[in-house]
Each structure stands twice: as structure tokens, then as C-alpha cells.
Subunit: 208 residues, 2 copies
DNA sequence: CACTATAGCAAACAACTGTTTGTTTTTGGA
DNA sequence: TCCAAAAACAAACAGTTGTTTGCTATAGTG
């Protein structure tokens, strides 16, 4: 799918010898990020062309390369912003009061919010597989891990029976939440409702 | 990504007027399917070219079109075989004796087996999104649903407290299992061990 | 007002994509 | 042995891909 994939040095904002580069006020970089996030989240990384993105941002394909050295670098930027945004909703949820189970439920609801519906940046983080951009895969994984650690705190705080496998619990819950991108349809159950159901299934004893 | 995407009629095995078409003994079609399954599972649908597949099958790109009308039709064939194989391991697991919880655990282990490690066909079913092949997306979804119904039986048989949301339970468990493709690393915990852990987390009361 | 860094345009590039077409080889049944 | 069907080859097609290059406009600072 990539025509050529040679590593390219970053040509972007170069600093002059004595003065820091200062961006203009009519900076259209956010527009590019928005367009990329929209396409990456809806069609995936590989199915999105630089022309798609440039078109939606109202500029020519080549112009994107002033801001990003490559398509993959653009992905990194979107990915990073995605992680930032999910953390921005989950961390407050964790900081809120209530018992650990309630806080976990809030965190799950926040996670789903940052991942479904209109949160295109968040969707990218879950949808795009790091291997799709080999050159920067390691950085994407690092970004994802960074967030998952945040989520892990909610589980670490849980009062659980002595021998409970918390790692498995995290993998299970996070997997269930992330996979919701596959079956979730807007207009049906809200993220909050889903989070409540999932957490309840874990908390309440199912064995009759 | 598709250069041209006009709908093409199926040119493949055409039956003569009076005699059923009989395939040759040196039929290399399975080879094609194997190669496609391997690439689709490892690189994804969009990142795999017909040249990749043809190369691994030891033939020229154009020759694939004797067997399949399009790349998407080839995907359908692999997908169908994938569903067949997963069912082939899960259904026996369900038929085995034991209480419903044990049977569910067996089904989960089987599901994971058909989805991780060397089961390239099964991996395709989970990895490839139906929207990646718009022309045949509906058929892919139908195939997936067909299997998920099978899995649903294991959950329907569970003796659960009266008001338990079985649909949510299915979505949660299946999501957790499918997402394992993201973090699973061969050589660590086996599918059986993982299945046991996940089911136990659901079954045992976590609230202390 | 001059000047420099920022931002973007215009046009091309080489590589790669799925697919088609006409022809050739090979097989198995009559 | 003959021959139709099956299978594959060989070579091209038109379009798309990420990216590069040289040039121009514009904004903001001294």
C-alpha cells in the first residue's frame, strides 16, 4: 500500500540559528490533524490517502509535507493527541470520589466515551494497529502503553479476593471495552449504560 | 486502494452444457487460499497485494483470476473457511460433557485456539473488518454472525441469576477473547490457561 | 518599509495497485 | 489417440499511491 517508504528526515519547523521558530496565527495544522483523525478513524490508516486528508483540509497533498515528514509521522501526531484526549476524560473520572468499584465504572464509561461516537482521535488509537506504520510502530505502542497504565490504576485500587489475577482482569475488561468499536451503534445504549453492565457482570457473582 | 472496482461476473469453474466441470487432481486452489490466509492474517487485507499471494502460491498475479473474480471474492473464500475451522473446534467443545460452566470454558479455549498461534484462517475472521471489502461486506458479516450464534449457545446454557444480561455477557466475553489478538504472544500463557482465567473472573464473585 | 521565516502551490516522480486480454500448456475422459 | 476443458502464462492497462522539487505568496518582526 505504501508506494515508497524510505525514511525521511524531519524537514518541518526548523529553528533559525538564534531565534526560535514561531508559528503563524492562521496556522492550519490543527485542520490537518482533524482531517487525518476523521479519515484514519473511519477508513483506517492504510485506506486513507494523503490526498484525502489534504482535500478535507483544503490544501494540496504536497503541502502536508511542510508539517509532517511522512504519512506515518502524521499518524503519530494524531495518535498522541488521541491518547491525550482519552486520558483527559479518564483521569478526572478516576480522581472523583466514591468507592473503587464506582470509580472503575466511571473510568470505563469515560474510556468508552473517548472511543466511540464523535471522538475521532480516540477511535484512531484503538482502530489503527501499530504494525500498519512499521517505521513508527514502537512509538505508537509506547503511547498506548502509557494510557493503559493509567487505566491499570483503577484496577489496582480494587478490593479483590487475595489471589485474584489483576493482570487478566485488566486485559479482559480493556479488551471487552475496545472491541465495542466493532458492534457499537450510536443511538442505542450509551457508554455509561454499557460500562455499568460490564462492571456489574464482573462484580456480581454469576454462579447461582 | 482498488485501482478499478467494477463488479465482475464469476468467470471461474464454468459447467459445460451436459457435463459437470471436474477439477484436476493437481488443483492448486488450496495453495492460493493458504497463501491468502497467511498474508491477510499477518498484514491485513488492504496491505496484501495479489502479487504477494500469487508469489507465495508460485504463480502469476493474473492466474488468480481464473479461480476468483476479484480480490474481495478471494477474501470471502478465506473468511468462510476461517469460520468453518473455528466452528470445527468450538462445536465439539460444546458437545462435550460437563456442567455448563466447564463447557463454556472449553468453548473459550477452542475459540482462542482457532484465533491465535498458527490458525491463519481463523485470524483472518477476527482481524479483517468487513468494511475493508465493501463489495462483499454483507456476506462477511453474515458469516461472522453465523459463528457468534454458535458461541451464544454456550452462554444460553449457563445457569445464571434471574435478571442477568446475557447479551452483555456475550459481548463482553467475546470482545475480551477477540481482542487477545492484540496482546497475545506465543510461548506465554496457552489458550487454555487464558480461557480458564477469563471464565473464572466472571464466575467467581470479585466483590470482597 | 524591508526582510526573513512560515506556509502553501504546482507539477511532476517512480513505484505499485487490481484487473484484463489473448495465448499457451496440461490434464483426463472418450 | 484425440480433444475439450482446466489452468496457467505473458504482458500490458489505467489508475492511485507517498513523496520530492522548485517556486511563490504572506505574515510578523526589527
Amino acid at each position: 500500500m505504501p508506494a515508497t517508504a524510505r525514511a525521511a528526515a524531519k524537514p518541518a519547523p526548523r529553528a533559525s540559528a538564534r531565534l526560535a521558530a514561531v508559528p503563524r496565527s492562521d496556522n492550519r495544522l490543527p485542520l490537518i490533524l482533524d482531517a487525518a483523525a476523521r479519515f484514519f478513524s473511519e477508513k483506517g490508516f492504510g485506506y486513507t490517502s494523503m490526498r484525502d486528508i489534504a482535500g478535507m483540509a483544503g490544501m494540496l497533498p504536497g503541502s502536508l509535507y511542510y508539517h509532517f515528514a511522512s504519512k506515518e509521522e502524521l499518524l503519530v501526531a494524531v495518535y498522541a493527541e488521541g491518547v491525550r484526549r482519552i486520558k483527559a476524560v479518564v483521569e478526572p473520572a478516576l480522581a472523583k470520589g466514591g468507592d473503587p468499584w464506582t470509580r472503575l465504572e466511571s473510568a470505563c464509561a469515560a474510556h468508552l466515551e473517548g472511543l466511540l461516537e464523535d471522538s475521532t482521535y480516540g477511535q484512531v488509537v484503538i482502530r489503527v494497529r501499530p504494525d500498519d506504520a512499521p517505521e513508527v510502530a514502537a512509538r505508537l505502542v509506547a503511547l498506548r502503553d502509557e494510557y493503559e497504565a493509567t487505566f491499570g490504576q483503577a484496577i489496582a485500587a480494587l478490593p479483590l479476593p487475595p489471589r485474584t489475577d489483576r493482570r487478566a482482569l485488566k486485559l479482559m475488561l480493556l479488551g471487552a471495552l475496545n472491541w465495542s468499536q466493532t458492534w457499537y451503534r450510536s443511538g442505542k445504549d450509551s457508554p455509561q449504560v454499557l460500562a455499568r453492565r460490564f462492571v456489574r457482570l464482573l462484580r456480581d457473582p454469576l454462579d447461582a
